[in-house]
């Protein structure tokens, strides 16, 4: 009896570990595939700038949960917003993210993206540690993924909710600056400022 239970327990652990390893492998491959797609778009000289950027954004959007990022960046303030404000804030934030990403792509020149390691602290969280390697330096970029309980429509199974560049978290810095801005201004002024940028 004891042996049977032990056997079942061990095989269950091995099974779940296999599943996890498989999931991790899939995520890595998916990520590299996306990056490769982006590089193809960047290198295609036929695209003009705005066409190229919108193509890149379209490629990457399924991998990011911009909505969640918008909510997290407001911290406790999020809960105090009215439904209309919430909707407006999310759409402004998403626009800003896309614009910011496109502008970063503009300065791209032959850097390579390498995966250095992957950490799965929880069943539904994965940290993908990558390096942006250029001729004379290596920048560490960490992508934090989570797995929503139910897959969202038009979205990947695992979604990025924060990007950490050289130890600097996008969400954290946004949260800090929004918080300080909101100490002397209200939410509509913040939204005005975001859309003005």
């Amino acid at each position: 009896m004891f042996r049977k239970v032990l056997f079942i327990l061990i095989s269950l652990t091995i099974l779940t570990q296999n599943l996890m390893a498989n999931e991790q492998k899939n995520l890595k491959e998916h990520f590299l595939k996306k990056i490769a797609e982006v590089i193809v778009i960047v290198k295609n000289k036929e695209n003009n700038k705005s066409m190229r950027n919108s193509k890149i954004v379209a490629t990457l959007t399924p991998m990011f949960d911009f909505e969640l990022m918008a909510k997290l960046s407001l911290g406790k303030t999020w809960k105090t917003l009215t439904a209309i404000e919430k909707k407006k804030f999310v759409s402004l934030y998403v626009e800003r993210m896309k614009k910011s990403y496109s502008s970063k792509i503009d300065s791209y020149s032959d850097e390579k993206v390498e995966i250095s390691s992957l950490i799965q602290p929880k069943n539904n969280r994965i940290k993908l540690i990558t390096n942006l390697v250029s001729q004379n330096e290596k920048l560490e970029v960490v992508y934090k993924f989570y797995k929503p309980k139910k897959q969202k429509t038009n979205k990947d199974r695992w979604l990025v909710y924060d990007v950490i560049i050289l130890g600097v978290s996008i969400i954290k810095t946004d949260k800090a600056q929004f918080k300080e801005f909101l100490q002397t201004n209200n939410i509509s002024e913040l939204m005005k400022q975001i859309s003005a940028n």
């Binding site: 911290g75 909710y161 924060d162 130890g167 600097v168 949260k175 600056q177 918080k179 300080e180 913040l190």
Partner: protein, 262 residues
């Protein structure tokens, strides 16, 4: 615990909507959105501890804000035009080589601080890098240590050493021309500069510069060269700022924290 709350909430919603199903149909939708909200709150709470911002006193806030906009002005109207012009006339290879040279001569700072943190392996590698790059790399203009010998740099400074031994960052201080810093890193400027051969100290045995004025010119040149490589980076960072001072402050502190942890 969270599941329990969800269970209770959903049970009560089911129960109440069940009771009032026919009499007040509108209530159902109201409560549905209420439960969606509370579920969303619970979901967001799961991420809370990853993004807690340390409530740190910021006694120099108003001074720092002024210096931040001063620095921003210096960058935009002085440093950037010069760096852009310099970038246009200088080939990238030359810019990188000059940056390599300045990186190589501050080897004493890296060695001392790797040793002060007990990082023996890194100290050996840094020494190896210095010897290779000073000789084969022609006084440090090239970095064969990395490209051929696969020896990565281990940048350490005195601020990181203090942080490593548990000294806190202290209040954030924005320095004119130098940019974001904190008390710990500001104090560390002096010990770092003592080990920097390009900064002139009369009583020190080794000086690569003839006098303080000379040393200042060299420093300015180094700064221009550095920003000629990186000016786009600061511009891109600045674009994302809604409020520049807290944005740069937080980015700097997170970046330093990461360097200390490595």
């Amino acid at each position: 615990m969270r599941y329990l709350v969800i269970c209770i909430l959903s049970f009560s919603i089911v129960f109440f909507t069940g009771c009032s199903n026919k009499s007040v149909p509108k209530k159902e939708t109201i409560e549905k959105s209420a439960i969606q909200d509370s579920q969303e709150d619970l979901f967001l709470d799961e991420f809370d501890d990853e993004f807690t911002i340390e409530e740190k006193p910021d006694p120099f806030n108003s001074y720092n804000r002024k210096i931040t906009s001063f620095n921003d002005g210096v960058f935009e109207y002085v440093l950037m035009p010069i760096s852009k012009g310099y970038d246009k006339v200088m080939p990238d290879e030359v810019q990188n080589s000059i940056a390599n040279f300045f990186e190589n001569i501050v080897f004493p700072i890296r060695l001392a601080n790797n040793l002060l943190q007990g990082k023996v392996q890194n100290s050996i590698e840094e020494t190896g890098r210095f010897i290779i790059n000073t000789t084969i790399g022609i006084v440090g203009f090239f970095d064969p240590a990395k490209s051929y010998f696969k020896l990565e740099a281990h940048k350490e400074d005195f601020g990181q050493t203090l942080g490593y031994w548990g000294v806190g960052a202290g209040p954030h201080i924005v320095l004119p021309f130098f940019g974001p810093s904190n008390l710990r890193d500001t104090v560390s400027i002096y010990p770092n500069s003592l080990l920097n051969p390009s900064i002139y100290y009369h009583h020190r045995g080794y000086n690569l510069t003839k006098n303080s004025k000379h040393s200042l010119y060299v420093k300015a040149f180094q700064k221009v060269n550095e920003s000629s490589i990186q000016w786009q980076r600061y511009e891109k960072i600045r674009e994302d700022a809604v409020d520049l001072y807290p944005y740069l402050r937080d980015a700097y502190e997170q970046y330093r924290q990461k360097q200390i942890e490595e």
